[in-house]
């Protein structure tokens, strides 16, 4: 989709990229970045609930992301009851923030692709990941700016 943002900085903040494969991490290291390698740990708090209805005539299915608000209309049957699952897929159980060699302690940056599982949006007992965030580099790690008490039921952008 042609909606990816090609900017190099977000309102004056440098963008920290994330590499999610061994090849990408090593290419970045050879290019002069310092990979800050972290484990990818799916959080049990990140989950969405779906159920599946099936058309009794055609066999086609429909996935319901809000199973609590509807019952199957005539001609349809619930074939998978509301089921919670972790909806994200990552290629490896590790990833790395690519730290520019000239990044200074105290510098605020924009982390484009968070490795950590933090709750971004919440609705009806579902939680999605926070994709990006500001952070501060302290010389050895990125301290992610995250407010767990913020209202997460709406999205602006």
């Amino acid at each position: 989709m042609m909606d990816d943002d090609p900017r190099e900085n977000i309102h004056g903040l440098r963008i920290i990229k994330t590499a999610r494969t061994e090849q990408a991490i090593n290419e970045a290291a050879r290019a002069g970045f310092r990979p800050l390698v972290k484990s990818v740990k799916p959080s049990k708090d990140i989950r969405v609930v779906v159920c599946v209805w099936q058309d009794l005539v055609t066999g086609e299915i429909r996935t319901l992301c809000e199973p609590h608000v509807a019952v199957p209309p005539p001609g349809w049957k619930e074939v998978v009851k509301p089921t919670a699952y972790y909806p994200y897929h990552f290629p490896e159980p590790f990833a790395a923030y690519l730290i520019p060699p000239d990044l200074q302690p105290g510098e605020r940056v924009w982390v484009e692709d968070l490795i950590e599982d933090l709750i971004g949006t919440t609705w009806n007992s579902n939680n999605s990941r926070l994709p990006s965030s500001e952070a501060v580099w302290d010389g050895t790690k990125l301290k992610i700016d995250y407010d767990p008490d913020r209202d997460r039921s709406f999205v602006v952008g």
Partner: protein, 99 residues
């Protein structure tokens, strides 16, 4: 036997923050680096929109617009900002981008 058609409304994928029209066309991917709180944004002449003091953009509430209106808005101003409430009536959720 004629099978019922499901009502077509705007779709929002909270996993990717992409907003789609009822026919599957992408309206916008919502990304705000400031993680704005809609409730704290300033008023505008349009009661369905608010003002962001940080980037000086008008943020339009999608709860009060049709998908055709939003597509036209984005075509006229690709940097326009939108607000989506996951509980708003004119929206359903999807975990897949596109139909």
């Amino acid at each position: 036997m004629t099978q019922p058609r499901f009502k077509l409304v705007m779709q929002f994928n909270p996993l990717t923050n992409r907003l789609f029209a009822d026919d599957g066309r992408l309206i916008k991917r919502l990304r705000c680096p400031f993680r704005l709180d809609w409730r704290k944004l300033g008023p505008t002449d349009d009661p369905t929109a608010r003002h962001c003091d940080i980037c000086q953009h008008t943020v339009t509430d999608t709860a009060h617009r049709s998908d055709d209106e939003l597509l036209a808005l984005m075509a006229a101003n690709p940097k326009a900002c939108l607000k989506v409430d996951l509980y708003q009536d004119n929206l359903t959720l999807t975990y897949h981008d596109g139909r």
